[in-house]
Amino acid sequence: MNDAAEVAVVSGSDAQPIVQLERIWKSFGRLEVLTDVSLSVQKGEVVCIIGPSGAGKSTMLRCINHLENIDDGTIHFEGKPVYRYKQNGRVVVDPDSRIEAIRAQIGMVFQSFNLFPHLTVLGNVIEAPVHVLREPIAKARERAMVVLGKVGLVEKAQAYPHQLSGGQQQRVAIARALAMNPKVMLFDEATSALDPELVGEVLRVMRQLAREGMTMVVVTHEMDFARDVADRVVFMADGAIVEQGPPEVLFTAPRSPRTRQFLHSILNRNGGPEEPSPVP
Protein backbone atom coordinates (compact mmCIF):
# COMPACT_ATOMS: atom_id res chain seq x y z
CA MET A 1 0.00 0.00 0.00
CA ASN A 2 2.91 2.32 0.69
CA ASP A 3 4.41 2.08 -2.74
CA ALA A 4 0.95 2.59 -4.18
CA ALA A 5 0.98 6.03 -2.60
CA GLU A 6 4.28 6.78 -4.28
CA VAL A 7 2.98 5.69 -7.64
CA ALA A 8 0.07 8.05 -7.14
CA VAL A 9 2.53 10.92 -7.03
CA VAL A 10 4.03 10.00 -10.36
CA SER A 11 0.71 9.03 -11.92
CA GLY A 12 0.95 12.05 -14.18
CA SER A 13 3.53 10.17 -16.20
CA ASP A 14 2.46 7.65 -18.81
CA ALA A 15 2.48 4.63 -16.50
CA GLN A 16 0.08 1.91 -17.62
CA PRO A 17 -3.43 2.65 -16.38
CA ILE A 18 -4.95 0.03 -14.11
CA VAL A 19 -8.40 0.61 -15.59
CA GLN A 20 -8.99 2.04 -19.00
CA LEU A 21 -12.28 2.61 -20.76
CA GLU A 22 -11.86 3.11 -24.47
CA ARG A 23 -14.69 4.59 -26.51
CA ILE A 24 -17.49 2.94 -24.56
CA TRP A 25 -21.02 2.97 -25.90
CA LYS A 26 -23.97 1.73 -23.93
CA SER A 27 -27.71 2.06 -24.33
CA PHE A 28 -30.72 0.74 -22.45
CA GLY A 29 -33.16 0.07 -25.25
CA ARG A 30 -33.43 3.31 -27.18
CA LEU A 31 -31.92 5.37 -24.40
CA GLU A 32 -28.25 6.15 -25.04
CA VAL A 33 -26.60 6.11 -21.63
CA LEU A 34 -22.92 6.25 -22.55
CA THR A 35 -21.79 7.77 -25.82
CA ASP A 36 -18.15 7.30 -26.76
CA VAL A 37 -16.79 7.55 -23.22
CA SER A 38 -13.08 7.13 -22.56
CA LEU A 39 -11.42 7.25 -19.18
CA SER A 40 -8.26 5.89 -17.66
CA VAL A 41 -7.36 5.45 -14.05
CA GLN A 42 -3.78 5.15 -12.84
CA LYS A 43 -2.67 3.02 -9.95
CA GLY A 44 -3.09 4.89 -6.68
CA GLU A 45 -5.25 7.55 -8.24
CA VAL A 46 -8.53 8.78 -6.77
CA VAL A 47 -10.97 9.76 -9.50
CA CYS A 48 -14.26 11.35 -8.52
CA ILE A 49 -17.10 11.37 -11.02
CA ILE A 50 -19.68 14.07 -10.62
CA GLY A 51 -22.62 15.23 -12.67
CA PRO A 52 -26.38 15.48 -12.75
CA SER A 53 -28.47 12.35 -12.32
CA GLY A 54 -28.99 10.49 -15.56
CA ALA A 55 -25.55 11.49 -16.79
CA GLY A 56 -24.40 7.87 -16.93
CA LYS A 57 -22.00 8.03 -13.95
CA SER A 58 -23.21 4.86 -12.25
CA THR A 59 -23.54 2.99 -15.52
CA MET A 60 -19.97 3.82 -16.43
CA LEU A 61 -18.77 2.65 -13.04
CA ARG A 62 -20.76 -0.58 -13.34
CA CYS A 63 -19.19 -1.28 -16.73
CA ILE A 64 -15.78 -1.41 -15.07
CA ASN A 65 -16.63 -4.66 -13.25
CA HIS A 66 -19.04 -5.89 -15.91
CA LEU A 67 -22.23 -5.43 -13.95
CA GLU A 68 -23.31 -3.77 -17.18
CA ASN A 69 -22.55 -5.11 -20.63
CA ILE A 70 -21.16 -2.55 -23.03
CA ASP A 71 -22.42 -2.28 -26.61
CA ASP A 72 -19.18 -1.07 -28.11
CA GLY A 73 -15.69 -0.06 -27.07
CA THR A 74 -13.09 -1.81 -24.98
CA ILE A 75 -12.40 -2.04 -21.29
CA HIS A 76 -8.82 -2.72 -20.25
CA PHE A 77 -7.79 -4.00 -16.86
CA GLU A 78 -4.08 -3.80 -16.11
CA GLY A 79 -3.44 -3.21 -19.78
CA LYS A 80 -5.35 -6.22 -21.07
CA PRO A 81 -8.73 -6.06 -22.80
CA VAL A 82 -11.41 -7.77 -20.71
CA TYR A 83 -15.01 -9.04 -20.71
CA ARG A 84 -15.95 -8.49 -24.34
CA TYR A 85 -13.69 -7.03 -26.98
CA LYS A 86 -12.64 -7.21 -30.58
CA GLN A 87 -9.48 -9.06 -31.46
CA ASN A 88 -8.35 -9.36 -35.06
CA GLY A 89 -11.77 -8.18 -36.12
CA ARG A 90 -13.57 -10.87 -34.13
CA VAL A 91 -15.60 -10.34 -30.99
CA VAL A 92 -14.12 -12.21 -28.04
CA VAL A 93 -16.27 -12.92 -24.99
CA ASP A 94 -14.34 -13.84 -21.89
CA PRO A 95 -15.42 -17.05 -20.14
CA ASP A 96 -17.26 -16.55 -16.84
CA SER A 97 -14.22 -17.76 -14.93
CA ARG A 98 -12.05 -14.92 -16.26
CA ILE A 99 -14.75 -12.32 -15.63
CA GLU A 100 -15.09 -13.61 -12.07
CA ALA A 101 -11.33 -13.56 -11.56
CA ILE A 102 -11.19 -9.92 -12.65
CA ARG A 103 -14.16 -8.91 -10.54
CA ALA A 104 -12.46 -10.49 -7.55
CA GLN A 105 -9.72 -7.87 -7.95
CA ILE A 106 -12.15 -4.96 -8.18
CA GLY A 107 -13.99 -3.95 -5.03
CA MET A 108 -17.39 -2.34 -5.27
CA VAL A 109 -19.49 -0.42 -2.79
CA PHE A 110 -23.14 0.10 -3.65
CA GLN A 111 -25.54 2.87 -2.82
CA SER A 112 -27.87 0.40 -1.11
CA PHE A 113 -25.05 -1.49 0.70
CA ASN A 114 -26.29 -4.91 -0.48
CA LEU A 115 -24.93 -6.74 2.54
CA PHE A 116 -25.89 -10.39 2.80
CA PRO A 117 -28.69 -10.23 5.40
CA HIS A 118 -28.48 -13.89 6.41
CA LEU A 119 -24.82 -13.66 7.36
CA THR A 120 -23.17 -11.88 10.27
CA VAL A 121 -20.81 -8.98 9.67
CA LEU A 122 -17.89 -11.39 9.89
CA GLY A 123 -19.71 -13.82 7.61
CA ASN A 124 -20.21 -11.06 5.04
CA VAL A 125 -16.53 -10.17 5.12
CA ILE A 126 -15.09 -13.69 4.91
CA GLU A 127 -17.63 -15.03 2.41
CA ALA A 128 -15.69 -14.26 -0.75
CA PRO A 129 -12.17 -14.82 0.63
CA VAL A 130 -13.24 -18.30 1.78
CA HIS A 131 -15.40 -19.32 -1.18
CA VAL A 132 -13.83 -17.42 -4.07
CA LEU A 133 -10.16 -17.19 -3.05
CA ARG A 134 -10.42 -20.45 -1.09
CA GLU A 135 -8.53 -19.04 1.86
CA PRO A 136 -8.56 -21.11 5.04
CA ILE A 137 -11.23 -19.81 7.42
CA ALA A 138 -8.76 -18.91 10.14
CA LYS A 139 -6.72 -16.78 7.79
CA ALA A 140 -9.82 -15.13 6.33
CA ARG A 141 -11.06 -14.34 9.84
CA GLU A 142 -7.76 -12.79 10.79
CA ARG A 143 -7.80 -10.61 7.72
CA ALA A 144 -11.49 -9.78 8.25
CA MET A 145 -10.71 -8.44 11.70
CA VAL A 146 -7.99 -6.24 10.21
CA VAL A 147 -10.32 -4.70 7.63
CA LEU A 148 -13.11 -4.39 10.20
CA GLY A 149 -10.58 -2.52 12.30
CA LYS A 150 -9.98 -0.17 9.41
CA VAL A 151 -13.67 0.69 9.21
CA GLY A 152 -13.99 0.77 13.00
CA LEU A 153 -16.40 -2.10 13.43
CA VAL A 154 -14.42 -4.87 15.11
CA GLU A 155 -16.92 -5.02 17.97
CA LYS A 156 -19.80 -5.61 15.50
CA ALA A 157 -18.26 -8.73 13.95
CA GLN A 158 -21.00 -11.00 15.32
CA ALA A 159 -23.91 -8.64 14.58
CA TYR A 160 -26.32 -9.10 11.69
CA PRO A 161 -26.71 -6.33 9.12
CA HIS A 162 -30.23 -5.44 10.26
CA GLN A 163 -28.86 -4.63 13.70
CA LEU A 164 -26.60 -1.92 12.29
CA SER A 165 -27.18 1.68 11.25
CA GLY A 166 -26.91 2.58 7.60
CA GLY A 167 -23.49 4.10 8.11
CA GLN A 168 -22.26 0.98 9.85
CA GLN A 169 -23.72 -1.23 7.13
CA GLN A 170 -21.94 0.75 4.46
CA ARG A 171 -18.66 0.48 6.38
CA VAL A 172 -19.16 -3.29 6.53
CA ALA A 173 -19.71 -3.23 2.77
CA ILE A 174 -16.40 -1.42 2.39
CA ALA A 175 -14.72 -4.00 4.64
CA ARG A 176 -16.26 -6.81 2.58
CA ALA A 177 -14.71 -5.34 -0.56
CA LEU A 178 -11.35 -4.68 1.12
CA ALA A 179 -11.12 -8.26 2.38
CA MET A 180 -10.49 -9.31 -1.22
CA ASN A 181 -7.40 -7.12 -1.37
CA PRO A 182 -8.73 -5.30 -4.43
CA LYS A 183 -6.55 -3.39 -6.85
CA VAL A 184 -9.28 -0.82 -7.42
CA MET A 185 -12.29 0.22 -5.38
CA LEU A 186 -15.46 1.46 -7.05
CA PHE A 187 -17.88 3.55 -5.02
CA ASP A 188 -21.35 3.99 -6.51
CA GLU A 189 -22.94 6.90 -4.61
CA ALA A 190 -21.89 5.19 -1.41
CA THR A 191 -23.40 7.87 0.84
CA SER A 192 -26.54 8.79 -1.11
CA ALA A 193 -28.85 6.45 0.79
CA LEU A 194 -27.59 7.53 4.21
CA ASP A 195 -29.15 9.88 6.72
CA PRO A 196 -27.12 13.10 6.70
CA GLU A 197 -25.62 12.49 10.14
CA LEU A 198 -24.24 9.10 8.99
CA VAL A 199 -22.54 10.35 5.84
CA GLY A 200 -19.45 11.59 7.70
CA GLU A 201 -18.40 8.22 9.14
CA VAL A 202 -18.43 6.61 5.68
CA LEU A 203 -16.56 9.49 4.05
CA ARG A 204 -13.94 9.30 6.80
CA VAL A 205 -13.25 5.67 5.94
CA MET A 206 -13.03 6.55 2.26
CA ARG A 207 -10.62 9.40 2.96
CA GLN A 208 -8.45 7.05 4.98
CA LEU A 209 -8.40 4.55 2.12
CA ALA A 210 -7.37 7.28 -0.30
CA ARG A 211 -4.59 8.32 2.04
CA GLU A 212 -3.31 4.74 2.12
CA GLY A 213 -2.95 4.84 -1.64
CA MET A 214 -5.96 2.80 -2.68
CA THR A 215 -6.96 3.30 -6.29
CA MET A 216 -10.51 4.61 -6.19
CA VAL A 217 -13.21 5.54 -8.67
CA VAL A 218 -15.91 7.39 -6.80
CA VAL A 219 -19.30 8.40 -8.17
CA THR A 220 -20.47 11.01 -5.71
CA HIS A 221 -22.58 14.04 -5.00
CA GLU A 222 -20.28 15.00 -2.13
CA MET A 223 -18.47 17.97 -3.62
CA ASP A 224 -16.34 18.57 -0.54
CA PHE A 225 -15.09 15.03 -0.68
CA ALA A 226 -14.30 15.37 -4.37
CA ARG A 227 -12.52 18.66 -3.78
CA ASP A 228 -10.41 17.37 -0.88
CA VAL A 229 -9.68 13.80 -1.84
CA ALA A 230 -9.76 13.47 -5.62
CA ASP A 231 -6.62 13.57 -7.70
CA ARG A 232 -8.90 14.15 -10.63
CA VAL A 233 -12.53 15.11 -10.99
CA VAL A 234 -14.54 13.99 -13.98
CA PHE A 235 -17.71 15.85 -14.87
CA MET A 236 -20.26 13.87 -16.86
CA ALA A 237 -23.49 14.98 -18.47
CA ASP A 238 -25.81 13.32 -20.97
CA GLY A 239 -23.76 10.16 -21.29
CA ALA A 240 -20.46 11.83 -22.00
CA ILE A 241 -17.45 13.17 -20.14
CA VAL A 242 -17.73 16.92 -20.50
CA GLU A 243 -14.59 17.91 -18.68
CA GLN A 244 -12.00 16.54 -16.30
CA GLY A 245 -9.08 17.84 -14.34
CA PRO A 246 -7.61 18.36 -10.89
CA PRO A 247 -10.27 19.47 -8.40
CA GLU A 248 -8.72 22.87 -7.82
CA VAL A 249 -9.02 23.59 -11.53
CA LEU A 250 -12.39 22.02 -12.20
CA PHE A 251 -14.12 23.54 -9.20
CA THR A 252 -12.63 27.03 -9.51
CA ALA A 253 -12.18 27.49 -13.24
CA PRO A 254 -14.39 25.09 -15.17
CA ARG A 255 -14.04 25.54 -18.91
CA SER A 256 -17.38 24.19 -20.05
CA PRO A 257 -20.56 26.21 -19.48
CA ARG A 258 -22.30 22.90 -18.70
CA THR A 259 -19.89 22.29 -15.82
CA ARG A 260 -20.28 25.85 -14.58
CA GLN A 261 -24.05 25.53 -14.65
CA PHE A 262 -23.94 22.26 -12.69
CA LEU A 263 -21.51 23.52 -10.06
CA HIS A 264 -23.46 26.74 -9.76
CA SER A 265 -26.74 24.95 -9.13
CA ILE A 266 -25.16 22.63 -6.57
CA LEU A 267 -23.16 25.22 -4.67
CA ASN A 268 -25.98 27.74 -4.70
CA ARG A 269 -28.39 25.26 -3.22
CA ASN A 270 -25.92 24.69 -0.46
CA GLY A 271 -25.68 28.37 0.29
CA GLY A 272 -22.05 28.58 -0.67
CA PRO A 273 -18.98 26.43 -1.11
CA GLU A 274 -18.17 26.33 2.61
CA GLU A 275 -21.31 24.37 3.48
CA PRO A 276 -21.21 20.59 3.27
CA SER A 277 -23.22 19.31 0.35
CA PRO A 278 -26.37 17.53 1.40
CA VAL A 279 -27.50 14.32 -0.18
CA PRO A 280 -29.53 15.30 -3.23
Binding site: S53, I102, R103, G107, P117, H118, A177, M180
Partner: protein, 226 residues
Protein backbone atom coordinates in the same frame (compact mmCIF):
# COMPACT_ATOMS: atom_id res chain seq x y z
CA UNK B 1 -73.64 -48.23 13.77
CA UNK B 2 -70.01 -48.40 14.79
CA UNK B 3 -69.06 -51.59 16.42
CA UNK B 4 -65.71 -52.27 17.99
CA UNK B 5 -65.57 -55.57 16.16
CA UNK B 6 -65.87 -53.84 12.81
CA UNK B 7 -63.17 -51.40 13.67
CA UNK B 8 -60.80 -54.09 14.81
CA UNK B 9 -61.58 -56.02 11.70
CA UNK B 10 -60.98 -53.15 9.27
CA UNK B 11 -58.16 -51.37 10.98
CA UNK B 12 -55.20 -53.56 9.99
CA UNK B 13 -56.02 -53.34 6.32
CA UNK B 14 -56.58 -49.59 6.53
CA UNK B 15 -53.40 -49.00 8.49
CA UNK B 16 -51.47 -50.97 5.95
CA UNK B 17 -52.95 -48.71 3.29
CA UNK B 18 -52.07 -45.68 5.38
CA UNK B 19 -48.45 -46.79 5.52
CA UNK B 20 -48.41 -46.99 1.73
CA UNK B 21 -50.02 -43.56 1.49
CA UNK B 22 -47.32 -42.13 3.73
CA UNK B 23 -44.54 -43.89 1.84
CA UNK B 24 -45.80 -42.76 -1.57
CA UNK B 25 -46.28 -39.21 -0.33
CA UNK B 26 -42.90 -38.88 1.35
CA UNK B 27 -41.00 -40.38 -1.56
CA UNK B 28 -42.85 -38.28 -4.12
CA UNK B 29 -42.37 -35.16 -2.03
CA UNK B 30 -38.65 -35.71 -1.61
CA UNK B 31 -38.27 -36.30 -5.34
CA UNK B 32 -40.38 -33.27 -6.16
CA UNK B 33 -38.31 -31.05 -3.86
CA UNK B 34 -35.10 -31.95 -5.65
CA UNK B 35 -36.54 -31.89 -9.17
CA UNK B 36 -38.58 -28.79 -8.39
CA UNK B 37 -35.49 -26.92 -7.26
CA UNK B 38 -33.58 -27.95 -10.38
CA UNK B 39 -36.52 -27.12 -12.67
CA UNK B 40 -37.02 -23.79 -10.91
CA UNK B 41 -33.37 -22.91 -11.44
CA UNK B 42 -33.63 -24.02 -15.06
CA UNK B 43 -36.52 -21.58 -15.50
CA UNK B 44 -34.17 -18.66 -14.82
CA UNK B 45 -31.10 -20.14 -16.47
CA UNK B 46 -29.04 -18.04 -18.86
CA UNK B 47 -29.33 -20.88 -21.40
CA UNK B 48 -32.53 -20.50 -23.36
CA UNK B 49 -33.03 -24.22 -24.13
CA UNK B 50 -33.14 -24.94 -20.41
CA UNK B 51 -35.59 -22.09 -19.88
CA UNK B 52 -37.76 -23.30 -22.75
CA UNK B 53 -37.85 -26.97 -21.74
CA UNK B 54 -38.62 -26.19 -18.11
CA UNK B 55 -41.31 -23.67 -19.04
CA UNK B 56 -43.02 -26.10 -21.39
CA UNK B 57 -42.83 -28.86 -18.79
CA UNK B 58 -44.36 -26.70 -16.09
CA UNK B 59 -47.16 -25.39 -18.30
CA UNK B 60 -47.96 -28.85 -19.61
CA UNK B 61 -48.10 -30.49 -16.18
CA UNK B 62 -50.10 -27.69 -14.66
CA UNK B 63 -52.47 -27.71 -17.61
CA UNK B 64 -53.46 -31.37 -17.35
CA UNK B 65 -55.15 -33.31 -14.53
CA UNK B 66 -53.00 -35.34 -12.16
CA UNK B 67 -55.40 -38.22 -12.70
CA UNK B 68 -54.64 -38.22 -16.40
CA UNK B 69 -50.90 -38.07 -15.75
CA UNK B 70 -51.19 -41.14 -13.54
CA UNK B 71 -53.14 -42.96 -16.25
CA UNK B 72 -50.48 -42.12 -18.77
CA UNK B 73 -47.69 -43.48 -16.64
CA UNK B 74 -49.53 -46.62 -15.63
CA UNK B 75 -51.56 -47.50 -18.73
CA UNK B 76 -49.84 -45.78 -21.67
CA UNK B 77 -46.14 -46.22 -20.93
CA UNK B 78 -46.45 -50.04 -21.16
CA UNK B 79 -47.25 -49.62 -24.88
CA UNK B 80 -43.75 -48.20 -25.16
CA UNK B 81 -42.39 -51.16 -23.27
CA UNK B 82 -42.11 -49.35 -19.95
CA UNK B 83 -44.04 -51.28 -17.33
CA UNK B 84 -43.99 -49.81 -13.85
CA UNK B 85 -45.57 -51.16 -10.70
CA UNK B 86 -48.49 -49.23 -9.22
CA UNK B 87 -46.23 -48.04 -6.42
CA UNK B 88 -43.51 -46.72 -8.71
CA UNK B 89 -46.10 -45.23 -11.06
CA UNK B 90 -47.77 -43.49 -8.14
CA UNK B 91 -44.57 -42.05 -6.76
CA UNK B 92 -43.43 -40.96 -10.21
CA UNK B 93 -46.76 -39.42 -11.16
CA UNK B 94 -47.10 -37.46 -7.95
CA UNK B 95 -43.46 -36.37 -8.08
CA UNK B 96 -43.66 -35.21 -11.71
CA UNK B 97 -46.81 -33.28 -10.90
CA UNK B 98 -45.52 -31.64 -7.73
CA UNK B 99 -42.21 -30.85 -9.42
CA UNK B 100 -44.00 -28.43 -11.73
CA UNK B 101 -45.72 -26.58 -8.90
CA UNK B 102 -42.66 -26.54 -6.68
CA UNK B 103 -40.50 -25.28 -9.53
CA UNK B 104 -42.68 -22.21 -9.73
CA UNK B 105 -42.41 -21.69 -6.00
CA UNK B 106 -38.63 -22.00 -6.09
CA UNK B 107 -38.43 -19.70 -9.10
CA UNK B 108 -40.57 -17.00 -7.53
CA UNK B 109 -38.67 -17.31 -4.26
CA UNK B 110 -35.36 -16.87 -6.03
CA UNK B 111 -36.67 -13.95 -8.04
CA UNK B 112 -37.96 -12.28 -4.89
CA UNK B 113 -34.38 -11.74 -3.73
CA UNK B 114 -33.29 -8.20 -4.63
CA UNK B 115 -31.02 -7.84 -7.65
CA UNK B 116 -28.51 -6.10 -5.42
CA UNK B 117 -27.73 -9.41 -3.73
CA UNK B 118 -26.65 -10.93 -7.07
CA UNK B 119 -24.65 -7.83 -7.87
CA UNK B 120 -22.94 -7.85 -4.50
CA UNK B 121 -21.99 -11.49 -5.00
CA UNK B 122 -20.79 -10.84 -8.53
CA UNK B 123 -18.74 -7.85 -7.41
CA UNK B 124 -16.61 -10.04 -5.14
CA UNK B 125 -16.02 -12.55 -7.91
CA UNK B 126 -18.58 -15.21 -7.06
CA UNK B 127 -19.86 -17.48 -9.83
CA UNK B 128 -23.60 -17.72 -10.43
CA UNK B 129 -23.68 -21.19 -8.96
CA UNK B 130 -21.82 -20.09 -5.84
CA UNK B 131 -24.11 -17.09 -5.41
CA UNK B 132 -27.16 -19.28 -5.77
CA UNK B 133 -25.89 -21.71 -3.15
CA UNK B 134 -24.41 -19.29 -0.64
CA UNK B 135 -26.36 -16.06 -1.06
CA UNK B 136 -29.64 -16.45 -2.91
CA UNK B 137 -31.08 -19.83 -1.85
CA UNK B 138 -30.45 -19.38 1.88
CA UNK B 139 -32.51 -16.20 1.69
CA UNK B 140 -35.09 -17.59 -0.72
CA UNK B 141 -35.77 -20.53 1.60
CA UNK B 142 -37.30 -18.16 4.15
CA UNK B 143 -39.74 -16.99 1.50
CA UNK B 144 -40.42 -20.43 0.06
CA UNK B 145 -40.99 -22.49 3.20
CA UNK B 146 -44.67 -21.58 3.77
CA UNK B 147 -45.63 -22.57 0.21
CA UNK B 148 -43.57 -25.75 0.32
CA UNK B 149 -45.24 -26.52 3.64
CA UNK B 150 -48.65 -26.22 2.01
CA UNK B 151 -47.62 -28.70 -0.65
CA UNK B 152 -46.30 -31.04 2.01
CA UNK B 153 -49.66 -31.07 3.76
CA UNK B 154 -51.64 -31.51 0.57
CA UNK B 155 -49.54 -34.27 -0.99
CA UNK B 156 -50.88 -36.80 1.55
CA UNK B 157 -54.41 -36.10 0.37
CA UNK B 158 -53.53 -35.83 -3.33
CA UNK B 159 -51.88 -39.22 -3.05
CA UNK B 160 -55.39 -40.70 -2.74
CA UNK B 161 -55.55 -40.41 -6.51
CA UNK B 162 -52.99 -43.18 -6.88
CA UNK B 163 -55.75 -45.56 -5.85
CA UNK B 164 -57.04 -45.34 -9.43
CA UNK B 165 -53.98 -47.15 -10.68
CA UNK B 166 -54.71 -50.02 -8.31
CA UNK B 167 -52.27 -49.10 -5.62
CA UNK B 168 -53.55 -50.28 -2.26
CA UNK B 169 -53.07 -47.04 -0.45
CA UNK B 170 -55.40 -45.87 2.31
CA UNK B 171 -58.08 -44.75 -0.14
CA UNK B 172 -58.07 -47.91 -2.20
CA UNK B 173 -58.02 -50.15 0.86
CA UNK B 174 -61.10 -48.31 2.10
CA UNK B 175 -62.86 -48.72 -1.22
CA UNK B 176 -62.09 -52.43 -1.34
CA UNK B 177 -63.37 -52.97 2.18
CA UNK B 178 -66.46 -50.86 1.56
CA UNK B 179 -67.49 -52.68 -1.57
CA UNK B 180 -66.92 -56.02 0.10
CA UNK B 181 -68.83 -55.26 3.31
CA UNK B 182 -71.26 -52.47 2.32
CA UNK B 183 -70.30 -50.68 5.52
CA UNK B 184 -69.56 -47.48 3.63
CA UNK B 185 -70.16 -45.11 6.46
CA UNK B 186 -68.00 -46.87 9.01
CA UNK B 187 -65.15 -47.51 6.65
CA UNK B 188 -65.02 -44.11 5.01
CA UNK B 189 -65.32 -42.42 8.38
CA UNK B 190 -62.29 -44.38 9.51
CA UNK B 191 -60.46 -43.52 6.32
CA UNK B 192 -61.22 -39.84 6.86
CA UNK B 193 -60.04 -40.06 10.45
CA UNK B 194 -56.76 -41.65 9.42
CA UNK B 195 -56.14 -39.05 6.69
CA UNK B 196 -56.78 -36.36 9.25
CA UNK B 197 -54.46 -37.99 11.76
CA UNK B 198 -51.75 -37.89 9.12
CA UNK B 199 -52.45 -34.35 7.92
CA UNK B 200 -52.90 -32.60 11.22
CA UNK B 201 -49.48 -33.38 12.71
CA UNK B 202 -47.97 -32.59 9.32
CA UNK B 203 -49.57 -29.16 9.35
CA UNK B 204 -48.34 -28.63 12.91
CA UNK B 205 -44.86 -29.67 11.90
CA UNK B 206 -44.89 -27.16 9.04
CA UNK B 207 -46.04 -24.43 11.43
CA UNK B 208 -43.19 -25.30 13.76
CA UNK B 209 -40.65 -25.03 10.93
CA UNK B 210 -42.08 -21.69 9.84
CA UNK B 211 -41.86 -20.33 13.37
CA UNK B 212 -38.22 -21.32 13.54
CA UNK B 213 -37.34 -19.22 10.54
CA UNK B 214 -36.09 -15.85 11.59
CA UNK B 215 -38.10 -13.39 9.54
CA UNK B 216 -36.02 -10.48 10.83
CA UNK B 217 -33.13 -11.49 8.63
CA UNK B 218 -35.00 -10.81 5.43
CA UNK B 219 -33.18 -8.47 3.11
CA UNK B 220 -33.97 -4.83 3.68
CA UNK B 221 -34.10 -2.78 0.51
CA UNK B 222 -32.87 0.72 1.10
CA UNK B 223 -33.15 3.41 -1.51
CA UNK B 224 -33.21 2.96 -5.24
CA UNK B 225 -30.36 3.09 -7.65
CA UNK B 226 -30.03 6.57 -9.17
Amino acid sequence: MFSLDDMIQFLPSLLHGALLTIAVSLLAFALAMVCGLLTGIARISRLWPLRAVSAVYIQFIRGTPLLLQLFFIYYVLPYGGIVLSPFVSGVLGLALNYTAYMAEVFRSGIQAIPKGQWEAGASVGMSRRLMLRRIILPQAVRIIVPSIGNFFVSIFKDSALVSVITMRDLMFSGQLLASATYKHFEIFAMVAAIYFLISYPTAKFVEWIEARIDVTRRPVVIGMRG
